[in-house]
Subunit: 296 residues, 4 copies
């Protein structure tokens, strides 16, 4: 654990992840486009670097946790990017939710230089990251995955592997986010019906999400839906829109009609059009309410 | 517990429920349109009666567990029906999944004669009923509910009350069935995408339904979807279609657009049109597969 | 043309139809639940009657043009209804948009008494009725249709027959209304896209509805959509909701998933929930606008 | 009319368009990636060139009529492309159905070199092109449009202008194609209902598409739907899928939820997944049939 690892992205997810890595004994060198954002992790022991390449040695390991495909592309292929720096033996662990096709592109580029690309997107919001309870999905080169596994193990309660196809973990991550949004829409419609029929929504939530659907997603998201409370955001609606856009593009890529994904995408797109992009993405539930003539 | 209670309907749900009531010390008088169907419960100690009215005394308690609105109507209002028999103090506990508007009609009719109608639909399939683990939702007259509560407690792991409006428990039950079907559609689309993207579906199921969605519905229904295995039926697709039809009619009654309910209804309607009415209702997942060009 | 014919319903459609019958030389005896509504046609030469039965002799012909299934049922089967009055040889020509299953029920009842039921729903709004340019669809008993054909010919520019199954004309009428609403939704989405992309909507309308879609529906309905002008109503949105409800119920009856009908139904249902029931039914187009964040 | 004009693309649309230009007195220099495809127009008097740039002088006019964005990009920006060749005063008239954002990109590139880009997509299939009855929509630089107007006038029955924003004509073209596909889906659902209700579909078509919907699209496309006849293709289903993909991407770009476009897109996507990409795009109507349990 003496060799430092690089970590790029010190936002709401990256910060607690870095803290957990330090707590687990890793040395971490960090980079953020906005230097002030590194203050918290530097206070915890991380070393701030002036550019992406400076976080890692040529055969080292660097993790990226960024907002979208473009942000990963920038730190990988931009000036002082990690792709130029990493050489044979180097590993890029990409933990953001990005398009599977982008993952394939990145993996090919790394292969050209002898470095490896491991897809390792995670499930869980910042509070889950802080608790070290993320679920991590991996795919890509087996040797590279074996090398980074201790690092990933320090970040979550489980690492589930999806094999050699580097895009697989990203497909799976998109499936998961889609299912979360689908559950939100289902509760939005059900609890709107309950409200207009004058059924006690809180009791309904407790029955359904305490029994049949006794899982964190249903309990937590369901409470937001019942309370019509979507502010402050744990995960912004505009980011949910981005994720569902990726789901749709991936579905088109593989030739899979997904009408429920379309329905949810339209709820999110409408939310952004109505100025709700910074609400929590459970705010997609407002669509069903408004269609029924209930106010926001 | 000396006064016998009536129980009408000795099908796949009624039979284990009656057995549990007997095991809990109740005397039970039963009726079924098909007399042979009472054999199992008679062997367990129930007394078979020749018509609905004969199962109950004028001020007694009678439970009905039948396939649909028409079946309940028949034993309540048909020849030798329980409505004529029950008088002041009598209670009809109606446990079937029926329309909220039908519940309202029945409650008014009982009120005319001084008897009470308690709505008490349940969540759980026959194996859950047998284990005495049903969830029971109640609504209606408070005194009547108090009187029947010990009986309902013997049938499940919890009784959740939804107040005085007699139709509320039925609305809630329909919301729950809708949410189950919605989860099935979400998994159908997600796992179809996974399959066409060559992602290991079993691993996907274990990650998603072991973590975020760690609830019985997701695990059990999800396994059927992953295995593309919908036979034999635990709950027939044609009955699921009936339930979603009730969801749609109830949504229209209360003025609530439910596009996700429409999507699921169409999956089920298409399933019946293709001759799959006797498959398990998780077979609605075949729709997403076929739209993606995968075979049944 | 000496024998008078009965006509029940003197609303926005019935009034001009009666005027055209009189202009064509028919004697017409009319009934309306609201007696004042007969003033216009009485001034034109119609004779007002005190109840439905009084409009027609036992073997005569009576036309009904009313709001919905219930209104037809009332004048047919209610006190002094036409069903009791008509006997062998009598013909009831039912021109309202009602459910095909209701038409079947009514036809059976007439058959019991030796009278005939002819389904003859029409296409066209009040201005079209006034111009004598309705399109009339018929179905039912061949001899009865032959007898009433001169009357129907006086009402429109064409009578198209759909054979012996009495419900067929009603199915066809519902198909037509569905297609009109579908065209409205298509234009609503297209012109909303045009507006947000800053494309001249009026020029778009003229190109599309002057060429490819050069038909009255596209031109007239399209102009309302482009102008976002849905008041006053030529055909009220709440009546459109009723018609689409009949489309959905008919689709369920015959086992036909119609996702586009569901989409339109939800637009209309949402319109009523938002207090727009008295707008013109082209107001369903407001749904697409609002989803895109444009104001009403 | 002495200066020759360039025309790139000699497929099913380009060929009759070139023939009409020659018939109108224009000299035409043509290029096709597949040289054999120029034989017909060369026989009619066109001059075949060895590469795109050779079809046009530096300040000349060149029209492109190609399959998709990539094909236009190739002849514009590839080796011996027209972009390098055209200089100040040169005009590129782009008649293909491409993305509005692509049109914007191309226009900017031309501006850099002093040449102009005119968007001029057309409505009409090959038989309409042959009859010189296309509808042409234009947008872009006013002076350039004025210069090419006589050429466009020779191709169709009308040229409708959509102003200075170069992408506008492409947005409009996508709106039109969307509306055509929407009408097809509406007829597919309506005529499937008619078929299962045993209503005469041909009579239904004649009534609806002879009256309310008396336009070429409804009559021609409707006949294919009624006959369940989608082979041979006038416009291939896979190309329809491409167009609807552009509609969806454009809708996302401008923030417009279009659920009906999603429905149609999924019908087309499913059609390709089932191996029907080479059928006519009216074959999207098979989706509604199959969902209702009717066979192909």
């Amino acid at each position: 654990m003496n060799t430092p690892i690089g970590f790029i992205g010190t936002g709401r997810m990256g910060t607690p992840m870095i803290q957990n890595l330090i707590a687990a004994g890793f040395s971490v060198r960090v980079y953020s486009r906005t230097m002030e954002h590194t203050a918290t992790v530097v206070a915890a022991g991380a070393i701030a670097c002036g550019n992406p390449a400076a976080t890692v040695s040529a055969d080292g390991i660097v993790l990226t946790m960024l907002a979208d495909d473009a942000a990963v592309r920038a730190v990988m292929l931009g000036e002082n990017g990690i792709w130029q720096k990493l050489g044979p033996g180097g590993v890029h662990v990409s933990m953001s939710t990005i398009a599977p096709t982008t993952a394939l592109d990145f993996a090919k580029l790394h292969e050209e230089r002898g470095s490896s690309y491991v897809a390792a997107p995670v499930f869980g919001r910042p509070d889950v990251a802080a608790a070290g309870k993320l679920w991590v999905c991996t795919s890509g080169n087996a040797a590279a995955k074996a090398r980074v596994r201790p690092i990933l193990a320090a970040l979550g309660q489980g690492v589930v592997d999806f094999g050699d196809h580097v895009e697989s973990a990203n497909v799976l991550k998109l499936c998961g986010n889609f299912m979360v949004a689908a559950a939100t829409e289902a509760m939005a419609e059900a609890f709107t019906l309950a409200e207009k029929a004058e059924v006690n929504k809180q009791a309904a939530l407790e029955l359904l999400c305490g029994g049949l659907f006794a899982s964190p997603i249903y309990r937590n998201y369901g409470q937001s839906v019942v309370d019509v409370s979507h502010d402050p955001a744990k995960f912004a609606l505009r980011l949910g829109l981005k994720d569902l856009r990726l789901v749709r593009e991936t579905a088109v890529h593989y030739g899979v009609p997904m009408p429920l994904a379309d329905l949810i995408f339209n709820r999110l797109q409408s939310g952004v059009a109505k100025g709700r992009g910074e609400l929590d993405w459970t705010g997609l539930a407002l669509g069903a309410r408004e269609d029924a003539g209930l106010n926001e």
